[in-house]
Amino acid sequence: MSTLLGLSILELCYIAASITFIVGLKMLSSPDKARKGNLMAAYGMGIAIIATILFKEELSADKWLNYSLILAGLVVGTIIGTRMALKVKMTAMPQMVSFFNGMGGACAAVISLVEFDHLLHSGEVEMGMLIVIILGLIIGSVSFSGSIIAYGKLEGKIGDKALPAGQIINIILLVVMLALGVFIAIADTQQALYIYVLLGVSLLYGILFVMPIGGADMPVVISLLNSFTGMAAAFGGFLYGNQAMLTGGILVGSAGTILTVLMCTAMNRSLTNVIIGSFGGGGTTEEGREGLQGSIKEITATDAAILLAYAKKVSVVPGYGLAVAQAQHTVHNLEKLLDDKGVELNYAIHPVAGRMPGHMNVLLAEADVPYPKLQEMEDANDDMSSTDVVLVIGANDVVNPAAENDPSSPIYGMPIINVLDAKNVIVMKRSMGKGYAGIENELFFHDKNRMLFGDAKDSLEKLISEVKNL
């Protein structure tokens, strides 16, 4: 086969892949077409990979080792990746995404290392190339170590730790990292040592960058690191003059950035605030909290069932507690039961309920909850004054009135679901523990509120049998 033909086919495949990425991403933003969009992008990726192997270089027998290693790598990665992705529980999705994102970042960093080594040996050091390699390495490794820390935090393996003067250390590291990058880019002679020092500093920066950020903000961080890896991939595209890598990477880089901003907007916070704010440290809990020592009123499952069964309109506010208890199917059963009794039940979904925007929707959809029953926060708040009972299941911070009336609260300014506008509130909770942001919730002490303690699934099952007995 002539090289020109092969290379033309290759470029055509790259164009096709770029189109599938764009169209796939577009389809991912509408519920009906999302699945097709994902598959489409996956096919495009497959085509790009196969075409690269077949047409990038002329096939030659000398390189049998190279080809077998490529195939072995693909097979190993596919087996491990598929197994991990199929085994992971729905509640652990966010950290899985973070983990895979870290792998992409590591891949970009390794590419930069190899290409730097290549430059060292070829002797021709071109500044443009060097800049691209350095940027790919920095962004790729920050994304890798940051994603792994985010993964560990969401898995609960790593706690929130803030170094004393952590912000200053981070800024110093950032400056060192950039200065080192510039130094390597303009240095007259290159040494392998330079790039490994840069690698070390970048990895350390990634760790310290994510470490102090509270768990509640992790989705924003994952989304940000996601767009970082996109940029790292784009630098790789620049390096090889490869359009598929370039468009794919930039597309994710910019879409990821916008998604990050959308998530911040949903929490009414700025990105800088998320990164510097070190949310959820719990340091603000001591001050001015005396007013919260009101009395808590418990409710029995029987009373709660009566309240629900004779209501006209019920709203369920699901939170991470529901996800942990795997109670999405149980809540759907309760919904069907109440529906038979003529009770109108909707789900009020806070944009950051669970651990990631949209996470709750995924879980409820898994339990066959009809899509129209899921209300976004604004609509739910509009309906709240005509709602008889709000059932808060394992949610805390997203219904905390402190976000509206306590300027000293770390979640002040975050929009919440105004459950107190409804006539009655029942909070189902395991214990009086604090929410993920580590702050008290005055809702629990409010007159309208009743607490139903216990595991979300057990309590729901009790509610169901009580409602059946009525």
Binding site: F21, L25, L28, S29, P31, A34, R35, N38, M45, T52, L65, N66, I70, G73, L74, V76, T78, I80, G81, T82, A85, M90, M93, F100, N101, M103, G104, C107, V110, I111, E115, H118, M127, I222, N226, T229, G230, A232, A234, G236, G237, A244, M245, L246, G249, I250, L251, V252, G253, S254, A255, I258, L259, A266, M356, P357, G358, N361, V362, L374
Partner: protein
């Protein structure tokens, strides 16, 4: 100055492509409902796995006795594949739940 200018001029087509792609990325997802934020992030995560092509190119260009490049390239292929395959499979699993089920 000279080198920066020539860097710009030699890569002008790429720079053009980058800028257009940035706007395209913003435009493509600007109307996404909050429901789909997680699957979209996950799908985008899989797409940046396209970095795997770089690792394949390393492997193709490495001479068969350059063990550093071969080992690192192999590692990069594995990492990239994890990103691509894991990313698409996880996204598909999430989206399966949005599928309309026949009753």
């Amino acid at each position: 100055m000279e080198s920066i200018l020539s860097l710009f001029y030699e890569n002008r087509e790429f720079i053009f492509l980058i800028i257009v792609s940035i706007f395209l990325g913003i435009e493509v997802i600007s109307n996404v409902p909050a429901v789909l934020h997680t699957p979209l992030m996950s799908g985008a995560n899989a797409i940046h796995g396209v970095v795997i092509i770089g690792s394949i190119i390393i492997m193709l260009e490495a001479s068969p006795d350059n063990y550093f490049a071969l080992i690192m390239g192999f590692l990069a292929v594995v990492l990239g594949t994890l990103n691509v395959v894991g990313g698409f499979v996880v996204t598909n699993r999430m989206l399966e739940m949005f599928k309309k089920k026949d009753k």
